[in-house]
């Protein structure tokens, strides 16, 4: 007898829904996926939907009580919960607001209407409910989405890749972007994206979060002090890169991670 297909559902919290769109980019492989699953709910792909599902993909950060309650309901319903993308997995841009604890952010955004809204610090899904699988990236990386889908469907775990982006970058035989005078967060950023940005000559912005035990002190030194790579040295001087600027750059995606790292080691940009 044919086994019943698991039902998948997508849910969005504070985010741009770009990760859901990325899953749609599986394109013809969606047909392969549909051999193995039924779609219960997927707002950007189908109308309607059902409340009965087995695997829930949650994208976005959790930033108010409504979100929290909704996420708890999802966790109770789904056997498997996946945090999809960097907002859901580490907080991403949403967590930038966490550095202001009062109502300044609300007022800045909603002005006189600020009193109508309630907000909480933005948190990743795993800070609110247990998560079974994590997919990183802003947007979530398509090859990783495929790998994780297959691992879920075959019952395998998916430990987060724990190498810096440099490893994948070198396997692609890229010229280090530092050699071109481009500052890069690749050496402290978790891989799994196949070094897509640096492979096209751009800097890594750190969208997949920090690797375990990143050497942030070394990063600050390399980005601020005189550097043997003459061209990079010139860029550093031209930009007048200082600690504050680096901190801002790191915080773009890694606010909560940096905070943890600071608490753990006493170091941080």
């Amino acid at each position: 007898m044919k086994k019943e297909k698991p039902r998948i559902a997508f849910f969005d919290f504070a985010c741009c829904e770009g990760c859901q769109l990325t899953v749609l980019q599986l394109e013809e492989k969606l047909l392969d996926l549909l051999d193995h699953v039924e779609v219960a709910a997927w707002r950007v792909a189908i109308s309607g939907g059902s409340d009965a599902y087995d695997i829930a993909f949650c994208e976005g950060s959790i930033s108010n009580r409504e979100d929290e309650e909704r996420l708890h309901r999802i966790r109770e319903t789904a056997g498997t919960v996946v945090s999809l993308g960097t907002c859901a997995s580490i907080g991403c841009h949403n967590a930038l607001k966490n550095q202001w604890t009062g109502g300044e952010v609300l007022e800045l955004v909603y002005g006189g209407e600020a009193g109508r809204f309630e907000t909480l610090p933005a948190r990743p899904v795993a800070s609110v409910v247990p998560v079974d699988y994590q997919i990183l990236g802003c947007p979530a990386s398509l090859p990783e989405i495929e790998i994780v889908l297959k691992r879920i469907l075959t019952g395998q775990p998916h430990p987060l890749p724990n190498n810096p982006v440099c490893v994948e970058c070198k396997r692609n035989d890229n010229l280090c972007v530092l050699e071109k005078g481009v500052m890069c967060l690749g050496p402290v950023t978790r891989c799994g994206c196949d070094a897509i940005c640096t492979s096209y000559g751009d800097a890594c912005q750190g969208c997949r979060g920090l690797v375990d035990e990143p050497n942030l002190e070394a990063a600050v030194r390399v980005l601020t002090e005189n550097h043997r790579h003459a061209i990079m040295d010139a860029v550093a001087r031209g930009l007048r890169v200082d600690r504050e600027r680096i901190r801002t750059w790191f915080s773009l995606y890694n606010g909560p991670d940096l905070q943890l790292e600071q608490e753990k080691t006493g170091h941080g940009p």
Partner: protein
């Protein structure tokens, strides 16, 4: 194999004949050689050669070493499908039939990998790929990172089949193997004259003079030093600056560690096993079941790199697994220079002993 007493033999090939020769071999199968990086002129890369005019024989270094011709950064080892027993289909390597333009340091590194991968159990993929390829070496001029001379490999030839040295008339060609002689077969060459040998010798001297960077002890003494003393302060100092990004290993022509991973196809019943370059500097390199990591601290991993290159593999194979090519120093995102640090170790070991 019986040594051919007529080898090495010598002849001269003109630049124009090199083009014709390259065009000829391109017509017979995949060829890899150094060329200008399309994304960044001034830098070179080993890649599949498609047009003879793209071959650049005068280059300083390449981002990745030519070992990738035989040991690709990622490759499929076998395909599998579910069954009882499961079906396994090996996937053979697809090496270039000719690898062109390999510098002496990189030849020496291929020789190192020949030894490491022949050590039981031998790596059959490496052997398969090596047995199907002909290597053409070329002499070079050093840059500020090169310290090949003090490791004794600046004039390495093994295991090349042909070797070129630039001279006035083109290149002096050394034929080192019968396969090399056959490859050269149809090329237009002329007899090598006394003047050609003199020019080649002059160029070798120029090269030796150009190599300013030197290891300050011979590799044998370095191995003894590393064995005798812990040097923990030095490892910790390097570790404070090191990202553990692995770029020193992934750009190294003599590193040979790899990791394995299974990738499923969409039928979820079949898939392939892949292997990819790995690095002992990475946090999870020596992680085992249960979560234990054998070299948890960064300084232990730094020490491991030096011990592998200059102590353990030196003892096992009688040569350091570093060729002084300088790629790791050039690639280090944190500015750590292998030569400077190694000389620091030597200085610390010889301090106050009156034998610097």
């Amino acid at each position: 194999m019986m040594r051919d007493r007529s080898l090495p033999s010598y002849c001269v090939i003109s630049p124009g004949s090199v083009l014709d020769f390259t065009a000829g071999i391109l017509g017979k199968g995949p060829v890899m050689g150094p060329m200008v990086r399309p994304d960044q002129p001034g830098f070179h890369v080993f890649d599949r050669l498609r047009r003879p005019e793209d071959l650049v024989l005068e280059y300083t270094t390449t981002t990745m070493p030519p070992k990738k011709a035989f040991f690709p950064p990622t490759e499929t080892v076998f395909r599998f499908s579910a069954g009882d027993p499961p079906n396994l289909t090996p996937v053979r390597g697809d090496p270039p039939w000719v690898l062109l333009g390999v510098h002496p340091c990189d030849l020496s590194a291929i020789d190192a990998l020949d030894r490491a991968y022949s050590f039981p159990p031998p790596d059959r993929r490496w052997r398969h790929n090596r047995d199907r390829s002909i290597i053409v070496g070329v002499d070079c001029m050093p840059d500020e990172y090169c310290f090949c001379d003090s490791l004794g490999v600046s004039q390495a030839r093994r295991p090349c089949d042909l070797f070129l040295t630039e001279i006035e008339r083109g290149y002096l060609v050394e034929t080192h193997t019968r396969a090399g002689g056959e490859l050269l077969g149809e090329a237009r060459t002329s007899n090598a004259l006394g003047q050609d040998f003199l020019e080649a010798e002059h160029r070798r001297r120029q090269k030796a003079l150009g190599i300013q960077a030197r290891l300050s002890a011979d590799p044998g003494r370095l191995a003894d030093f590393l064995e005798a003393e812990p040097f923990q302060e030095i490892w910790e100092d390097i570790a404070a600056r090191c990202y553990s990004c692995g770029s020193c290993n992934t750009t190294c022509p003599a590193c040979f560690c790899f990791t394995m991973d299974d990738v499923f196809h969409w039928d979820l019943q079949s898939g392939e096993r892949r292997r990819a370059w790995d690095s002992c500097q990475l946090l999870d390199f020596a992680a085992v079941a249960g979560g234990h990591r054998f070299r948890e601290d960064r300084w232990q991993r730094v020490r491991h790199r030096w011990h592998r290159k200059f102590l353990h593999l030196y003892r096992r194979f009688g040569r350091p697994f570093c060729t002084g090519c300088g790629r790791c120093s050039r690639a280090c995102t944190a500015d750590i220079n292998i030569l400077d640090e190694t000389n620091r170790i030597i200085a610390a070991a010889t301090k106050g002993r009156g034998h610097a």
